[in-house]
């Protein structure tokens, strides 16, 4: 059985890819963001997913106004990097996982999500910038990628709730897959930003931080927000945050936050990245107290408490009991 092992929310600001490609990651403007990324990259490396389902939006690259699929899933073996007007980025092509992609397609459509099926879909910065953020500059990307492209440009995009529900259908599909695969899922875009009009440059840090906290603890707030609220509060392009809901829907109700970085501004955008694992099964107070030290430390870490076998056991125990609400 395949399993979803991790979820990531991540902005896909094109300038972040350009900063990386042009060796500017250590300058004063970009270093506050890039210096934070090794911890996220280590988390992903340790997670070692076989497949990454990458939810993003196309920015007039593979799709134009000629054809606007609300949800399109890439089932191809390979996806090339699009020319967005600068010439394609000089980064590896993206290798797909047709077998799992077709399985998800079949399962989701039968469960009521009528995905558009793409056998050719060049991927743009929406897909490639998160790959750069997660993996840096490898010879080849270390995971197979299933791109899922969402329309968030033409009104109306899908609602946050619909995106969340699609995430749930994707989780069900992955868990019904016969192969033994570790699957991660990323929802990308956002956070607050507006590229257009007299209000260009608007940033709403309070909204973004609440979005991140609610994503972890109280996602109904994010899931039930209307398009109007997203656009008014997070900017016309902040509507991209609905795509993070697909990731959240694919994760279980209770998640543990493993990494977060929020940075204003990268180009015109508030950059956010957050990494989740599903919370471990909740143990009773007696079960926790009966744990031997290595097991307790492992459980503490799964709960998001940074614990180590060299720490005093009673401190780790206290933290775990507090986290579970037993003391």
């Amino acid at each position: 059985m395949a399993k979803i092992v991790g979820g990531i929310g991540c902005s896909h600001v094109p300038a972040v890819g350009a900063a990386h490609d042009h060796g500017k990651t250590e300058n004063g403007y970009w270093s506050p963001l890039f210096a934070a990324l090794p911890a996220a990259r280590k988390w992903i490396k340790d997670l070692a997913p076989d497949v990454l389902i990458l939810v993003y939006n196309d920015h007039a690259s593979a799709f134009s106004l000629e054809l606007i699929p609300t949800f399109a899933i890439g089932v191809a073996q390979w996806f090339e990097n699009a020319d967005e007007g600068y010439g394609p980025r000089k980064i590896p092509d993206v290798e797909g996982h047709p077998e799992l992609a077709w399985h998800i397609t079949e399962s989701c459509i039968l469960d009521g999500f009528d995905l558009t099926i793409a056998n050719k879909m060049d991927v743009d910065h929406g897909c490639s910038v998160p790959l750069t953020v997660f993996f840096g500059e490898p010879e080849a990307w270390p995971v197979k990628v299933i791109p899922i492209c969402v329309n968030v440009i033409q009104y109306p995009p899908p609602t946050a709730k619909r995106c969340y529900d699609l995430g749930q259908a994707i989780r069900k599909a992955v868990e019904e897959y016969d192969g033994d695969l570790k699957v991660a899922i990323a929802g990308t875009g956002g956070m607050s930003h507006q590229l257009q009009g007299e209000r260009a440059g608007v940033i709403n840090t309070e909204f973004d931080v609440n979005y991140l906290n609610n994503l972890r603890d109280n996602n109904d707030v994010n899931k039930n927000r209307s398009h109007l609220e997203y656009i008014r509060e997070a900017g016309s392009e902040g509507i991209e945050l609905v795509m993070w809901q697909i990731m959240r829907g694919a994760m279980e109700d209770k998640v543990v936050e493993k990494f977060r970085k929020y940075h204003v501004a990268s180009s015109n955008t508030a950059f956010g990245i957050i990494c989740f694992e599903n919370a471990p099964e909740e143990k009773t107070e007696a079960e926790v107290k009966a744990m031997k030290e290595p097991e307790l430390v492992e459980y503490a870490n799964a709960l998001g408490i940074k614990a180590h076998v060299d720490d005093l056991k009673k401190y780790t125990l206290e933290k775990v009991l507090t986290k579970l609400g037993y003391s």
Partner: protein, 135 residues
Amino acid sequence: MTKEEKAELRKAFADIPGTYVFTPEHSKMGYPLNMFCMSLNKAENRAAFGKDEAAYIEKFGMSLEQKEAVLKRQWLRMLELGGNIYYTFKIAIFDKKSMQHVGGKMSGITEDEFKEMMLSGGRSIIGNRSKEQDY
């Protein structure tokens, strides 16, 4: 969602200051303009546009106003005429201009002022949520 709620939502978009939600009306009006921008994804089209801008844009069926806005790089006007920023920005890429340059032009400040604003936390949301209400 009820019919009334859908209509209310559309009306509410118009209350957000300085924001052009890409509604079906915008999309219909902007189709030729945006499809011209889309053509700049191809290197050979960028070369043709560079050689003779006025001649190149003739083949897309744009209105006179749209053509003028493109040739004069009137970024805000392009939005008013149905342009979408992800499409119109392709003209800026062609010009080797940044999103801050375009953002500045649309909001009446210089590129440097725009960059400075972003470095100091961006344009404040406070007072920028609604035309009708000050919050």
